[in-house]
Amino acid sequence: MEDVVMNRKQYLSILGTALLTASSLAAQQPRVLRDPTQSPAALPRPKAAAPQSYPAEEIKVGEQRFGAQCGFCHGRDAAGGESGPDLTRSELVAQDMRGDKIGPLLRAGRPDAGMPSFSLSVSDVDAIVAFLHNQMEKFATLGGGRRTVEPADLATGNAADGKAYFNGAGGCSQCHSLTGDLAGIASRYKGLALLQRMLYPSGRPAPSPAKAIFTLDTGQTVVIAPLVAEDEFSVTVLDPLGARQTFQRGEVQVKIDDPMSAHFTQLGKYTDADMHNLFAYLDTLK
C-alpha cells in the first residue's frame, strides 16, 4: 500500500487548494494542554468505584448531620478541617458502595487515629453517606480541588475599572467582543471557573484555537486549525476531515499562530487589582 502514502508536500498543496474554495474550517476542536503541575497535591482524585446518585432531600439531611457530627474535624464541607483529613479525596469514600464501608467505619470509629465511634440511626448514616458521595463528586468536577472558592469570595473588584482595563491597558477588546464570544459569558461560567477562564482558558473550548500556517514552495500559504500538538521536530494539525496530520518541521515551512500567547503574556502584566476588577466586569456580562 506504499503507493497511496502521499508526499507531505503534495498533501499540503492539495489541501491548500481545497481550503481556498472552502469558506470555513469544519472541525474546531479544543486545544488540550497538559496539567503543568507535578506536585503530590495535583494528583487526580480517587475515582468512585461505581456511580451512585442520591435524592437531593437525603443529601441535604446528610449535610446537616455531617456538619454537626463530623464538621469539627473534617470541615463542614468534608474537605478537611483542623484535625481530620479531606474526605473528598478519601479512597475509602471512593470505594464505598451505598455505605458498605463508611457505615461500619462510622459505627466503629478509628480510635488509633483519634476518631470516635458514632451511634447514629440507619437513616442518619445513609444521609451522611449520600452527602459524602455528593461532595466527592462536586469537588472532583470543580477541578484542582482541595478547598472551595465561593463566587462571593471573588467579588472584591470594581467593574467600572475592569471595563476600562478591558478596553485599555488590558488589550482584551483587541481580540474579544461583548456581543460575540463574550456575550453572556457570566451566565455560562461562574466564580472560580470564570476567573480561570478569564486568565487562561486552557483545556476548555477556546474561542479561537491555535493555527498552523504553512508556506508552500509556490509561496501560497495554507492555514490549518486547530493545532493539535507541536514540538521542535513536528507539527500536528486536525485537517478539515477531522484526521490528524503530522508534518516534520524539516520538510515544510510552518509557523504557529496561537492566540493564547496573548493570555500568557498578560499573566505577567496583571496586578491583583487588575485581575479582580476585570473579573468584576466580566461577571456583569450575564
Binding site: 497538559r34 503541575t37 507535578q38 506536585s39 482541595r146 514540538d231
Partner: protein, 512 residues
C-alpha cells in the same frame, strides 16, 4: 502497622553478571566508569560524566541497544543505579534487577499492595552486595543484590499518619539516609539514618522537631519533608539535604515567622545527624515551594577565589550559590519568572511579599505550585560553568480564607499556565546563558552532561534530546515517549551507554 513483609521475589536465583564486583564504600567515593552507584552517580550531585566516547561529532550515530518494559501504568521516574553489570530500577512497590548489557530481567521484587501514596519513586541505593528500597508505605527493605532475597525490612515512618516514601536513599559509609513525604497532614519533617548492616535506626534529624523536644519550635510549623536525595562532601564530612514546604501549606497565619528549617538547605553530620548549618531559601513559604531540589556541590572559582560551592536552582524561582563550609550566601538571583518577593535580605534570602500570600479573593503568583523547577535533577558542567536545569516560567492563583482551617493544605491554588525550558544558568553571575524551549506546562526530565560537551534530557512531548552544552542547540533526538527520569551513563566492555526512561520503558543507547 505490621513489621513483617509478604513480598514476592520473582525470577531466577542465579545471576551471572552480578557475581563479580561489590559496591564498597571506597567505590562510592570514586565511582569507576562501569558503575552508577548512587542516585546522582556521584556524591557531588553534578550528574556530569567524564566518559568521552559519545561526542557532539558522533552522536548522530547513537542508536537503541535494548529496551526494558516495566509493565507499569506509571512512567519511570527513577534514576537506575548500576553495579557489577546489573541495573537496579524502581517504581512504587517495585524493584527490578536488569542485565545492563541486554536489558533482560534478572529478578523482580513486588511489594504487597498498600494504601499509601503512589506518586512516584526515585530510585534504589547499593552498598557492597546489598540493595536498598523504600516503599510507599514507608518500609526500607534490604535485598541481596545477587538474587533479590530480603535481608531485612524495617519501617521508617507510619504511613497511616500521612507519610509516604519515594526516596532514593543516600548511603554514606554505614549510614543509609532515608527521607519521607507528607503534605496533606501536619506531621514533622524527618530524615532517618539506618544502619546498613542491621536496619537499626542510628539517628533522626527533624527539620520541624515535634513538641516535647528541646529543639522544638513554638511557631506551630510542621512539614519540611526531605523526600529527595542529598549530596555529600567527604572532606567536610557533611551531608546536604533540601527540606520541603511547611504545613499547614497555604495558611501562613497559623505559623508566624520564618518556620525553620522548612524550605531550607541543611548541612548535617552523617555520623550524628546534628545540624551544622541551615540556609532558608524560602522563609515563611505559603506556596508549596519545597527546597528539595538537588544541592549540587562543586569546587570552583568564584570572584577569582577557589571556593567550596553549593548550588541550588530552587522551586521558588531563585538560584542560590552558598559557601558549603558555613552555609553563607555567595549569590542569589532569579532564574525564572518570579513576582512573590520584595527583594533579597542581608543573608541572601528572598523576602516574601505579604501581598502575594494566598488571599480570600485570590492572588496571581509566579511561579505556580509546581514551581520554577522541581524533583527533576539538574546538572553542572564545570567546563562552561553552566548549571543546567529544567525550568518553568509559570503562573498560578492562590486562595486562603479562615474557613480553610489550619490542617494539611489549608487553602486552594490552581496552576494557570507555564512554559518550560532547559535553562543554562552561569553560576558565576546567575545570568541565563541559553534557553532551550521544551513546550507548554512543566518539564519532567532530569539532566545529564558529559565532558565532551553534551547535555542529555527530554522535552515535554515524547523525545529524549541531546543538546550542545555550549549553546543549547539540538544535536540528536529519539522519539521514545515522554522522559520523566534523569538519564545516566556508564561504560561496559568498552562501550558507553546512555540509559533513559521513556514512558514506562527504559532505553539503552550506544554508538552503532
Amino acid at each position: 502497622m505490621k513489621n513483617i513483609w509478604f513480598g514476592v521475589v520473582i525470577g531466577a536465583a542465579f545471576v551471572g553478571p552480578a557475581a563479580a564486583q561489590s559496591a564498597d564504600p571506597e567505590k562510592l567515593l570514586h565511582p569507576p566508569a562501569d558503575a552508577w552507584l548512587t542516585y546522582h552517580g556521584e556524591y557531588n550531585g553534578q550528574r556530569h560524566s567524564r566518559l568521552g566516547q559519545i561526542t557532539p561529532q558522533n552522536i548522530a550515530h547513537l542508536e537503541q541497544v535494548w529496551r526494558f518494559q516495566t509493565g507499569q501504568n506509571q512512567a519511570i521516574k527513577a534514576s537506575p543505579i548500576l553495579s557489577g553489570g546489573v541495573l537496579y530500577l524502581t517504581a512504587p512497590d517495585n524493584l527490578w534487577a536488569i542485565d545492563a548489557r541486554t536489558g533482560k530481567e534478572l529478578w523482580h521484587y513486588r511489594h504487597p499492595m498498600n494504601d499509601a501514596f503512589h506518586i512516584g519513586h526515585r530510585g534504589a541505593a547499593i552498598l557492597k552486595d546489598t540493595v536498598y528500597l523504600t516503599t510507599p508505605d514507608c518500609h526500607l527493605i534490604a535485598f541481596n543484590a545477587k538474587d533479590g532475597k530480603i535481608k531485612w525490612d524495617v519501617l521508617i515512618a507510619d504511613s497511616n499518619k500521612g507519610y509516604w516514601s519515594t526516596n532514593a536513599p543516600l548511603i554514606v559509609r554505614n549510614h543509609v539516609l532515608v527521607g519521607v513525604s507528607g503534605d496533606f497532614d501536619n506531621v514533622p519533617g524527618q530524615l532517618k539514618s539506618i544502619d546498613a548492616e542491621t536496619g537499626k535506626t542510628q539517628w533522626i534529624f527533624y527539620s520541624t522537631p515535634p513538641p516535647g523536644r528541646a529543639d522544638s519550635q513554638a511557631d506551630g510549623t510542621t512539614g519540611g519533608q526531605m523526600w529527595t536525595t542529598g549530596t555529600y562532601d567527604p572532606e567536610l564530612n557533611l551531608v546536604f539535604v533540601g527540606t520541603g514546604n511547611p504545613t499547614p501549606v497555604l495558611n501562613g497565619a497559623a505559623r508566624p515567622g520564618d518556620n525553620p528549617w522548612t524550605c531550607s538547605i541543611v548541612a548535617l553530620n552523617p555520623d550524628t545527624g546534628k545540624l551544622v548549618w541551615g540556609f532558608q531559601v524560602s522563609p515563611h513559604d505559603t506556596h508549596d515551594w519545597d527546597a528539595n531540589e538537588v544541592p549540587v556541590l562543586a569546587d570552583a572559582d568564584f570572584g577569582g577565589q577557589p571556593r567550596k560551592l553549593l548550588m541550588q536552582a530552587s522551586r521558588n524561582g531563585y538560584f542560590f550559590v552558598l559557601d558549603r563550609t558555613n552555609g553563607k550566601s555567595i549569590l542569589t538571583a532569579p532564574f525564572a519568572t518570579v513576582n512573590w518577593a520584595k527583594g533579597i535580605d542581608a543573608l541572601g534570602r528572598p523576602i516574601p511579599d505579604p501581598a502575594k500570600e494566598p488571599k480570600k479573593d485570590g492572588v496571581l503568583v509566579a511561579p505556580n505550585e509546581g514551581g520554577a523547577t522541581n524533583f527533576r535533577p539538574p546538572s553542572f558542567d564545570s567546563k562552561t560553568g553552566f548549571f543546567i536545569v529544567s525550568a518553568v516560567d509559570g503562573y498560578g492563583i492562590y486562595f486562603f480564607k479562615n474557613e480553610h482551617g489550619g490542617y494539611g493544605w489549608a487553602g486552594a491554588d490552581y496552576s494557570l499556565a507555564g512554559k518550560s525550558f532547559l535553562r543554562a544558568i552561569d553560576y558565576r553571575s546567575g545570568t541565563i546563558a541559553w534557553d532551550h524551549p521544551l513546550g507548554d506546562g512543566s518539564g519532567t526530565a532530569g539532566v545529564l552532561t558529559t565532558d565532551t560537551g553534551l547535555t542529555i534530557s527530554g522535552d515535554n512531548r515524547a523525545s529524549v534530546l541531546a543538546l550542545r552544552t555550549s549553546d543549547g542547540a539540538t544535536l540528536w533526538h529519539a522519539n521514545i515517549g515522554r522522559v520523566q527520569n534523569a538519564p545516566i551513563t556508564y561504560e561496559l566492555d568498552g562501550k558507553q551507554f546512555v540509559i533513559v526512561g521513556g514512558g514506562s520503558s527504559l532505553y539503552a543507547f550506544a554508538l552503532r
